[in-house]
Symmetry: C2
Subunit: 243 residues, 2 copies
């Protein structure tokens, strides 16, 4: 098993993702929102790149079964049902619904990863479920950090390091190689802080969310294993993996 990591989806080509097991990380907040929606009974999450696509998929024809959700600049898109705060995705709002989701960073990372053989969604709230699922695979693993505004983000890279470190601790060292990026992600996890909420507060993205009034989201998104589901992206839809 070789473990590689992209610090953002920028530069990620179809051929980089093809036939690899992939975990897409967007801690703030798409991955966390997806876990929460599915855990609270959403039928599926459908990630799309544009507001236009989201509107088309949630046209009046499907209004009873679909909600259209997402953000631009951290804030709910005008006319959408929900924004991108995981705290909005309660059973009352999502149970039985198809959630069409478009966000600035995370949904693009997911769509770009679609040539992978298996695509998981990871973040702090489901980190153990993801790590355990990946620890015993034989294929190569690609960890795709969503990043922020096409740039490196501390929180996704730190979470990548947490997952990579967890995988390496359970595997035979000789069976597992890591790329430069994966190695540095692990160093970042081991040396930055052992408190994910502190990581989120230090991160530029976290500071921006605090300014927008979403500080409570950092505590939600930073709680390890709060929402221990394993979302899998397959043929355009994200659902909970069932063994």
């Amino acid at each position: 098993m070789h473990i590689d990591c992209f610090v953002t989806h920028v530069g990620l080509r179809e051929r980089d993702a093809r036939d690899k097991v992939i975990v897409v990380i967007d801690v703030l907040r798409a991955s966390t929102t997806i876990c929460t929606a599915l855990s609270n009974g959403a039928k599926e999450v459908i990630p799309v790149n544009s507001i236009e696509q989201a509107m088309q998929l949630s046209s009046d024809l499907f209004a009873d079964t679909t909600i259209v959700c997402g953000e631009r600049g951290g804030v709910k898109v005008r006319g959408f049902d929900l924004g991108n705060s995981p705290r909005e995705y309660t059973p009352g709002t999502v149970k039985g619904k198809s959630v069409v989701l478009t966000t600035t960073n995370g949904t693009e990372a997911l769509v770009k990863s679609r040539t992978g053989s298996q695509i998981l969604v990871g973040c702090f709230v489901n980190v153990s479920a993801v790590t355990e699922a990946l620890a015993n695979i034989n294929e190569d693993l690609l960890v795709v950090c969503a990043g922020r505004e096409q740039r490196f983000s501390l929180e996704d890279f730190y979470c990548a390091g947490m997952i990579i470190n967890g995988i390496r601790e359970t595997r035979n060292a000789e069976d597992t190689t890591v790329s430069d990026t994966a190695s540095v992600a692990e160093i970042t996890f081991r040396n930055y802080s052992d408190d994910p909420v502190k990581v989120l507060k230090d991160a530029a993205h976290g500071q921006s969310l605090i300014e927008l009034g979403f500080e409570e989201d950092l505590h939600f998104c930073g709680e390890i294993n709060r929402v221990p589901v394993l979302p899998v992206y397959h043929e355009g839809r994200i659902t909970i993996h069932t063994a």
Copy 2:
């Protein structure tokens, strides 16, 4: 002073670089080669993106005063005078010459940084000269890692961390802020290893150069302050900064 860092030149736009002080890092090997060429008496280094541009600039008209140099895939371009090993850039080959240089990663990073207010070339062999020059500036600093094949590279990111750490140690903490990327670069420098040659040997790029027969270059490129010059890129040419 705010310190930011790009892990590769991919995604670096003119407006990101504009009016910032920039240091471009390509440890393996363009930055090291540029330092060595200038230290050994080259009149200037002219970085260009393509083999075609290099050929045009070194046409017969200028054959007496110009040498055309660079690599693709780590190996000297057919018909060029020199490759990209700093050990080739001896006084006997470069003294008094204009060196037209095209490499896979470093020259593109330089050309993309050209809207900066001041552009330095950094690596291990001149790290103290660069760090001292940057420690007292008042403008914002952008550290541009060349990376490798448009991806993150350990050696450039570690060197970025070494420079950022050096700057922060000499400045008042309240006057200096760092981005997520710059912060993680510093963590990488502090925690990876204190031996730059080990960093180069661990890096995927270093391993590739060893396979190509350039192991000796890693010892050259990893020697701190071996070539203590301060190359400045201005109006298309790199020359040694003179106070």
